[in-house]
Symmetry: C2
Subunit: 450 residues, 2 copies
């Protein structure tokens, strides 16, 4: 069951594709491998192979595979389907996943797919389409099992036995009033150990976590993590009526996306970046980021240019100046990363920012003193010039202090004005550490050396 | 229920601490706030406040709060407890969490804690202590509900009703033979809809996910994500006997840690980095990373130093050279980040590496051509020197190609030789893009300009 298997299957499939033997691939894709593994296989394939493999998945299996495919790739495939196939495929989806996908398809097609559904299903999906993908409403399913408070445990058992099956991840029954208001929850583990004659009202839990449909997905994830939930009911914020429930499998996706978001954004990559996206798409996305960083680089060069006369006289400065900028950049990005994660975990607020800034300034000062001593000694030995050694040491300390202050305050400030600190933070930080690094080093040199 | 509350509580608590009013804090910490929130509050406090707050948590509540505290901080508190308090506190823990914490305490104390437990509990915890924290055995709990296959559904219900309660996150009963071999699983959702006269053997699922105790935690997490599991049974690899079960709440922690690991490692930070760790601890950890990066910086400076004569003649080179290094660094770290994530998701293997390398080289070339044109035009305008414009354009293209190749192949190579690509990747990449950047730019200048 190891995931290494995906890569082994990929090897088999790639070799078969190259030799044109589609028999074995068809066999693997249509039954031999579980749909989850087929989805992983598609995700791990370059565009051309991905397309070929998808064509070998039989129509009847498409829906199940799509269910497990990452949204970005699933939408690409669905955009190339005719409406009839889309309708067939849509029957495999849970209502929340279907709503997510439909949001990305043209309106005309969405209407046709909706028209093909039973009135009950259509109402469900239309209800879900009204919520943002990144909210509790967008994460929820409508397949809840509800009961009334006044029946006995024995009758509840009989009622459940009338179902052919219960929805996946049902860990609690939801106790509702006649007007669909949520009165309590009844974990199956509690139902199973209760006296048959007790009423649901006697044994239901009245202190439970309930989520309003508009809650952002990230808050939902934090709640699930904090309270160790498997599922949680969602209600309408106005009517307080039960709308559906969110299950941990969808929340796990949110948690992974959120945790990956910072890392990918800091490198200017999209959250839903497909590892194997085609050349032109990749080139365009990367080009933008390089362009933004080029502005930073030119600003740094402009600062160096201010000291052209100084550089002209002492070439050693040109050799050493990248050290000052680089040490500042490294120190700053450590602080930046730590603070971005702290913000994402909701740990950083008005009360502890000052403590954090103080700590980072002291840490910056201590490390500045330590490494500027080392750098000064090496410089003095290399260039046989004690003055340059003093100057680079001073510049290193100055830059590490600026790096500490910027790394701490910049993400907090960006967050407050509504800019994603993970995305904008590293570019701005580098600009600061480059400019301060070159300015302090070449500036001190101009004052004391020339 | 929003997590913003933690920060609000933090505000209240900080103000009360400052004014010395401990009454309200005691009230908040000992009952008014759920233990999860008290844990979050402690995690969001600087060291001194954290210690003060912990002293205000009453002995009887300590165990519950510790349960929810991040391991690093929990261990710190536990190291300061006497054995008697440790024993009292340990009663609050699930066996897997207790085993994790005991692994970090001195052996003598562990023995005393174990000696205080009932024989049954001790055997359990000792069994868990034999597994690595990062394996399925380290993640599992021993509190399974097992039944025999030959009883009827009706008798199973009666058997369950004899329990005062079922363990949290019990979504399935585990069907075992007389010799404790796992024969099948029975989801509660299936039990509840089954005919009372059916036998467990008739309705149990015989195709289920089972995890061997030595499985690495990361594989367990991937399995849970892929199969949408709430819990999964763990067996001994030799005897095939049932040992326990892993539940999704522990797996969610693994998923978050894994996803955060890459981001933190790329900045040279520890996985369990405490946002509010004290100054000296932080300084030491950061110093090491700065020292490693200093070597990189000196290597780059050494390369520049090789071209001292050239720089002496054309000072414009010194002004422009950071642009070449910086563009290479940015382009390379985009590729590096993408590949590191791809490796973590198990998407990258022998068959698609070549495709990935090809794509990255072409993307590097295209973006190299685009941005080198822009840079050349700006350079020509700035320095009124067409030759330098050609030279910087050539150097940019060369560096972006090296960045693409290094960003793709380096993490794959590091992974193969057992070095964490997230930790070592960025330092090595920067060294390559700096060296290649300065070497190509100043080298081309020496050939064509001097």
């Amino acid at each position: 069951m190891s995931d290494q298997n995906t890569l082994n299957h990929l090897q088999t499939v790639t070799e078969s594709l190259e030799s044109g033997e589609t028999m074995q691939i068809r066999y693997l894709l249509n039954g031999a491998l579980p749909a989850q593994d087929v989805a992983r296989l598609l995700e791990s394939s370059p565009p051309k192979e991905r397309k070929l493999l998808w064509e070998l998945v039989e129509a009847k299996n498409e829906g199940e595979v799509l269910q497990y495919l990452s949204e970005d790739i699933g939408i690409q495939f669905m955009k190339n389907m005719d409406t009839e196939r889309l309708i067939a495929v849509s029957e495999h989806f849970e209502s929340d996943d279907l709503a997510d996908l439909l949001q990305h398809l043209p309106e005309k097609i969405v209407k046709e797919v909706l028209a093909s559904m039973s009135i009950q299903d259509r109402t469900r999906v239309e209800g879900l389409l009204s919520y943002s993908e990144d909210s509790a409403g967008g994460l929820m399913n409508t397949d809840t099992i509800t009961i009334r408070p006044n029946i006995t445990v024995d009758i509840a058992f009989r009622y459940l036995r009338r179902h052919a099956s219960l929805p996946d991840m049902t860990d609690s029954l939801l106790v509702v009033s006649r007007s669909d208001r949520l009165l309590g929850t009844l974990p199956l583990t509690k139902l199973l150990v209760s006296d048959l004659n007790a009423t649901i009202r006697d044994i239901m839990e009245t202190e439970f976590t309930v989520i309003v449909a508009e809650t952002p997905a990230s808050e939902v994830a934090q709640l699930f993590e904090k309270m160790d939930l498997v599922s949680a009911p969602v209600i309408d914020s106005n009517t307080k009526k039960l709308l559906g429930r969110i299950t941990i499998d969808d929340v796990v996706d949110v948690i992974r996306d959120e945790a990956e978001h910072s890392m990918l954004s800091m490198a200017g990559l999209d959250d839903d970046e497909d590892t194997f996206s085609p050349i032109m798409k990749t080139t365009k996305r990367r080009a933008v980021w390089l362009g933004i960083n080029l502005i930073t680089a030119f600003i740094a060069s402009y600062v160096i240019g201010l000291f052209q006369a100084t550089l002209d006289q002492v070439v050693a400065l040109a050799i050493l100046m990248p050290i000052v900028a680089s040490m500042g950049g490294i120190a700053g990005s450590q602080v930046l990363t730590l603070v971005i994660r702290g913000i994402a975990l909701n740990q950083i607020g008005a009360t502890n920012t000052r403590w954090l800034l103080n700590r980072e300034l002291i840490v910056g000062l201590l490390n500045g003193l330590l490494w500027s001593t080392v750098i000064a000694i090496l410089t003095a030995l290399w260039f046989d010039n004690i003055k340059i050694a003093y100057i680079i040491a001073g510049a290193i300390v100055i830059n590490l202090l600026f790096a500490a202050a910027t790394g701490t305050l910049l993400p907090i400030l960006l967050k407050r004005i509504g800019i994603d600190p993970a995305l904008a933070g590293s570019v701005i930080l580098t600009t600061v550490t480059d400019v301060v690094g070159f300015l302090s080093f070449l500036g001190l040199a101009t004052i004391f050396l020339i």
